[in-house]
């Protein structure tokens, strides 16, 4: 081909284009990348997902070439900082680098010569990444299409360990959606058995599992929904003697318990261990929701330093609850859990969300850390076993509530 094409641009061969791009884009040797010679560089792997199975440059971000322009700002928000791109052989990364320079105004984008193949052949260290299998790519395809999730986010979900306190009204929808989303380990603490009166709202259980322990019933439902999920059953009542051991294995705790002493106990234990709690409560037609992230935002005791007297603290059993309400609140909890795992969005930290189902009103209130909080104003190791879950008038409270 000679001369111009119909649109007036000069016709070039691939080789001519490559030669031109090489004048524009600086190439960097794998050994120099490994030695950190490109100071402060964000290293981005632009290969397609299946190519990663053989290994990746340690510490590199992965953005497939086809999504590079859409997603590069997440990995490299500062256009003045150096970016090193690599692919399998060093060609695609050259084209990609030019696009970031010309199309998006990145100042210093280099292409790693020889790509990952030369990296590996040079004997440089590499990581073999965890990847999704074909079934998982299919199952989570709607997640993979989201920039905020993608393969990386889905792997975070699969590696996450979430503990649900209670497989009841709140725990049922939360467990099902977290399982569907591919949260890899779901622990469930519940020592109850399924009762017919649960089925109006506890949708993880079924008529034919009445009388079955709730942890078992929940595990059956989860296994039927998503075999990727490992369910850890804790068929116990959580108390001061077992709480530290149970919760310390988890990244996030979802609180839907029905009594104040356990809520305080959970708060104190999670503050000590630095585990965030996604907390909800429901009554009648109304719900409350917040995320308590120890030392980042307020804890439960900052919000409610003491529980109300028993006559002002009815449980759902005594007062009734609209069956769909724990569904709404439980799914808001599940959403916050997923956000925390993905580290996306603004978690509900330092805010309390109220939902009034009859009025169809959501109200958000600000809550702050209490500088005099008996628990989170102190260092984690200053909180003793003896004071965990204890509050003024604890004995009177617990006597009155039975």
């Amino acid at each position: 081909m000679e001369g111009s094409t119909q649109n007036g641009n000069p016709a070039k061969s691939a080789a001519e284009l490559m030669a031109e791009i090489k004048k524009q884009v600086e190439e960097v040797e794998p050994i120099d990348v490994a030695d950190g010679l490109v100071e402060g560089a964000v290293v981005v792997d632009v290969r397609e997902d299946p190519e990663l199975a053989g290994g990746v440059v340690p510490g590199s971000a992965h953005i497939p070439r086809s999504f590079l322009e859409q997603r590069i700002e997440n990995a490299a928000p500062d256009r003045d900082k150096p970016v090193v791109l690599y692919c399998a052989g060093g060609v695609r990364s050259l084209f990609a680098a030019r696009s970031l320079i010309e199309g998006m105004g990145y100042r210093d984008v280099r292409s790693m010569r020889g790509g990952f193949q030369l990296w590996k052949d040079s004997g440089l260290p590499f990581d073999v990444p965890q990847t999704l299998n074909d079934e998982q790519r299919d199952r989570y395809s709607r997640h993979l299409l989201l920039n905020e999730v993608g393969v990386e986010g889905q792997l975070k979900l699969l590696n996450a360990k979430v503990l649900l306190l209670g497989a009841g009204g709140l725990g049922s929808p939360t467990a099902l959606y977290l399982a569907a989303a591919g949260v890899g380990t779901i622990g469930i603490v519940d020592n109850d058995v399924v009762d017919r009166s649960n089925l109006q709202r506890q949708i993880i259980h079924t008529e034919d599992r009445i009388g079955t322990p709730k942890v078992e019933s929940a595990a059956i439902a989860i296994a039927a929904l998503n075999p990727d999920v490992n369910v850890v059953a804790h068929p116990v009542r959580i108390d001061a003697s077992n709480i530290m051991e149970i919760i310390s294995n988890y990244d996030i705790v979802v609180d839907g318990v029905d009594n104040f002493p356990t809520r305080y106990l959970l708060n104190d234990a999670t503050v000590r261990l630095g585990i965030p709690v996604v907390s909800a409560s429901i009554l009648g037609f109304e719900g409350q929701l917040s995320v308590f992230a120890p030392y980042v935002g307020p804890c439960y005791r900052c919000l409610f330093p003491v529980p109300p007297p028993p006559e002002l603290a009815p449980s759902c059993g005594a007062n009734g609850v609209l069956g769909v309400l724990p569904g709404t609140m439980g799914l808001l909890q599940a959403t916050e859990v997923v956000k925390l795992i993905l580290e996306q969005g603004e978690p509900l930290i330092g805010r309390l969300l109220l939902y009034d189902a009859l009025a169809t009103e959501f109200t958000t209130l600000k809550i702050s850390r209490d500088p005099e909080c008996p628990i989170c104003s102190r260092a984690p190791d200053a909180i003793s076993d003896d004071e965990m879950g204890v509050f003024p008038d604890y004995d009177a409270f617990c006597a009155g509530s039975h």
Partner: protein, 91 residues
Amino acid sequence: MAIVRIPPVLRPSTNGEREVEATGSTIGEVLASLTEAHPATKEQIFGADGTLNRYVNVYLNDEDVRVLGGLDTAVREGDQLVILPAMAGGA
């Protein structure tokens, strides 16, 4: 005139009303007007010493009155108060 939102546990004390209009230029005055109209709410909101019970949070619009000026916080026409006792229901 301010609107006071009544939580479910206090509604037996307000004839089931979910929202009550109350007058006053401070939080203390608005709550006093509420407890005058619905005397049963008084000991649920206030302790014997006249301060807010520690298990009740009161918000002026979206701010905790304890971080504002407490019972002396000014209330303007159309402001909304939320009375919020802790809830623990989960089942």
